[in-house]
Amino acid sequence: MKNTALQISTKNGINFRDPEEGFRRSKSTRTDISFRDLSSSQQRTVDVLHNSEQPASVFSILDTGSKTIPVVADTLFDLLVMKMNTVLQKRQKIESRGSRFELCDFCIKIGSVTVPGAGQNFKGVLLEIEYRACVIPNYCWEFMKEFIQGFLGTNTLNVPPQYLQTRMNDVYQPIDTIQQYLEHFNMFRKSTGIMSYN
């Protein structure tokens, strides 16, 4: 399942078409809880992510300085993490919540990114487009670009996102979606407000 994510500034509202026949609309959320690992001297973070598209799974990405280790687990993993309070220190939670639209083989998700905390801090908008009929990014990148250009105009990328560039010929997995989301979430965490994608 091919996927691309764009980050759009908050000032430009996107007028998305109302759901009409051909569209099916439902809710979708992605949440990320980030932990800092206190066990070792080097700075390691563990990110625990949930995606409403895969309700039975919990994704976790361990980021050491040199490499990242992704894990896909059952929902009991959450309980396990809760038990590791002494080792993992909770840092920040961020989530992207919004609507999900289905048009034939495409799945479009728009989420507004907020940091739940003292007052919902709004960070931005994330747009995710998924083409469910193909699993190799290389075969359908052009097609997806065309689709996106249909409503975003000249704002689209000409090259695939950086995460996918090395994986264009590999089978796409749900963990790849999560990795892309994590990149964007980290960018949102660093920024405070408006940011445009280069």
């Binding site: 598209e53 895969q54 039975a56 799974s57 896909v72 687990a73 059952d74 929902t75 009991l76 997995q173």
Partner: protein
């Protein structure tokens, strides 16, 4: 003085153990005292078997002088007399001597050279005949009285065991009952359980039965010739057993699930089934308890099955709703075909008949031959599967997670399954749905068989062969249909694979086309007919290629000519190797073929006013139809081959 009166006396036990060594700090280490066996060993070692024994016999007639001498000698032998085993050793030595002497004597007497054993003649004793007789009589009388008393005793014990044999029998029978069924003792009575609880059933009806001793008054009713003098040695009827089981009334008798598939012609609702005209086995009160219990268990199983099916029939929403009337469930399998599932229970001697309130008479009594045993067995298997799933939870059994989800659900998390996959995991089909699917597939399979057999019988020209796959499931089978012409099977062979599903057919042709047909047999028949005439066309083209004829044109869907009721006609035009003959073939899906021939240089060319030159004769003449029924040849392709052969000119 006081202190001089008190004298300190210290009492010490004599040291029993030998001091082995004394440490430098004054501590004494004792040798541990000998244990019993060590003591015995020490004493036994002091026995000396080689020493001469003290002769006690000779010492008796001795005078006092010798007694003094012997007393003086005894201190010398004190050491030996004090030995505990000396007397034993002396006696053993004496015995050895005596036995040696005896052995020597016997050996010598056996050789009979030096010594012979001769019996001492005895005087014959006086015989007093009368006393002899009297003594014998008395002895016999005593023996006789002893024997009669013993016989009396045996008889009394036998009569006792006869009476109490039922008791022993009862226990043996109870043991056998316990080996087969679950029993427990509740206060005075023995209660058993014949339900499927421990196998995973969750049916609320209990299957309790009670075990009692068979009463004695039932037993003693055999023959009145028994004299009261004899003790009541009545043996119980070998077919009766010593114990009796009491089964609850609702489980008595014999039951089974009747499954019928019938065509529903005009009526909208079925009337009730008239149950078995003859019960499967008349319930005999004297039936052995094993059979009774098994029958009761079967009744309970059938009740649970029917209960489950009835519940599902009411809950499920089907396009044509299922009907539950009394002991009968009616479900529509395919249009005009109904599946009737009924619970037939004959309890005791009476047969429960449902009231027959219809006008149609003969159609309501189901024949036993209609009952589908395969589907009944499937129903039993499905319920057993449900029971099995209730008890056997799939691995893994985590201590920290829920127990019960299937293996696919366990793996859904780590495999990042999306919501569609999870939804498909939650779809469980109920018993009724499953049996309806099986019945639907059964009908589809029969229809496919019928269609193929009818076509194969009707159409003889290309031979239609159907190979059914021997591996199939209750809901899917497949058949490979091959169309060949006799004699030309190397030339042209059309095959297609037909998957028979629950409510549809799926045909996969050799060229990769997949066609999904509905449950109507006509569609399958039409498809096969179209494949047949397509086969003819392909055959013609192959033959033409092999004979050197050229294919000029070929159209699978011809737009000219009569409109076909089924499919489209197809046509081909062939030219001979030299080009002087043309054959045009039009093949219709109904099986008719029209073959026409033309000569390329016209035979009937006459140059007239308009067309003057000779060369125009090469445009080709009109096509003349061949009377195909008069044509020689076994089948269509053979006829074509012969036609082509006859039209090929060698010049």
């Amino acid at each position: 003085m006081a202190h001089s009166m008190n004298v300190n006396v210290s009492v010490e036990t004599p040291a029993e153990s030998i001091i082995q060594e004394i440490n430098y700090d004054g501590q004494e280490i004792y040798q541990p005292p000998l244990s019993m066996s060590e003591n015995l060993t020490r004493l036994a070692q002091k026995i000396d078997f080689s020493k001469p024994i003290i002769d006690e016999v000779k010492s008796e007639p001795n005078d006092g002088e010798k007694i003094e001498e012997s007393i003086q000698e005894t201190p010398l032998n004190n050491a030996s007399v004090n030995l505990p085993f000396e007397a034993i050793a002396a006696k053993i030595r004496n015995a050895a001597t005596e036995i040696c002497v005896l052995v020597d004597v016997l050996n010598i007497a056996r050789e009979k050279n030096y010594m012979v054993l001769d019996p001492v003649p005895q005087e014959p004793p006086e015989t007093k005949p009368m006393a002899h007789i009297y003594s014998r009589k008395k002895a016999l009388f005593q023996a006789g009285s002893m024997l009669t008393s013993a016989a009396e005793r045996l008889r009394t014990t036998q009569s006792e065991t006869n009476r109490s044999r039922s008791n022993a029998d009862f226990h043996i029978e109870l043991l056998r009952l316990r080996q087969n069924w679950r029993l427990k003792k509740v206060s005075n009575s023995i209660i058993g359980d014949l339900s499927y609880r421990t196998a995973g059933s969750k049916f609320p009806q209990t299957g309790m039965f009670e075990v009692t001793k068979a009463d004695d008054d039932d037993v003693t009713n055999t023959n009145g010739n028994v004299s009261p003098a004899q003790s009541s040695t009545v043996t119980p009827n070998p077919q009766q057993s010593a114990l009796r089981v009491t089964i609850p009334t609702e489980l008595q008798g014999v039951a089974y699930i009747m499954v019928l598939c019938q065509k529903d012609d005009e009526r909208l609702f079925n009337t009730s089934i008239n149950l078995l005209s003859s019960p499967a086995a008349p319930s005999n009160p004297d039936m052995h308890w094993q059979q009774k219990l098994e029958a009761a268990q079967n009744v309970l199983f059938c009740k649970e099955l029917f209960n489950q099916l009835a519940k599902e029939a009411v809950q499920l929403q089907a396009p044509i709703p299922h009907m539950v009337i009394g002991n009968q469930i009616t479900a529509t399998v395919l249009p005009n075909i109904q599946l009737v599932i009924g619970l037939c229970h004959s309890s005791g001697n009476e047969i429960t008949k449902q009231s027959n309130n219809s006008n149609l008479t003969n159609k309501t009594t189901p024949q036993k031959s209609n009952h589908d045993h395969v589907l009944e067995h499937s129903l039993h298997q499905l319920l057993r599967e449900v029971h099995h799933k209730n008890t056997h939870h799939p691995f893994p059994h985590p201590s920290s997670g829920p127990l019960g989800p299937s293996t696919k659900r366990y793996l859904a998390g780590p495999n990042a399954a999306d919501r569609y996959e999870l939804l498909s995991l939650t779809k469980n089909s109920t018993l009724l749905e499953q049996i309806i699917e099986q019945a639907q597939h059964f009908f589809m399979r029969i229809r496919a068989e019928q269609v193929l057999d009818t076509i194969a019988k009707q159409i003889k020209d290309p031979i239609i062969i159907s190979h059914w796959n021997s591996l199939n499931s209750p809901t899917q089978s497949s058949v490979r249909v091959t169309i060949i012409s006799h004699g030309f099977d190397f030339m042209c062979r059309t095959s297609l694979l037909v998957h028979v599903l629950q409510k549809s057919f799926r045909c996969i042709c050799k060229d990769g086309k997949i066609m999904n047909l509905s449950y109507e047999c006509e569609e399958l028949r039409n498809l096969i007919l179209c494949q047949i005439y397509h086969h003819q066309m392909v055959g013609i083209q192959n033959i033409a290629k092999s004979m050197g004829w050229q294919l000029l044109a070929s159209t699978p869907y011809l737009g000219i000519g009569n409109v076909e009721p089924l499919g489209n006609a197809s046509s081909s035009i062939l030219a001979s190797p030299l080009g002087d003959r043309l054959i045009a073939i039009r093949c219709e899906p109904q099986g008719k073929v029209h073959v026409s021939i033309a000569h390329s240089p016209r035979k009937d060319f006459f140059s007239g006013q308009l067309v003057k030159e000779r060369k125009w004769e090469n445009l080709g003449g009109p096509f003349k139809e061949v009377r195909w029924d008069k044509m020689e040849g076994k089948n269509f392709l053979n006829k074509m081959e012969l036609l082509m052969a006859s039209l090929t000119s060698s010049s």
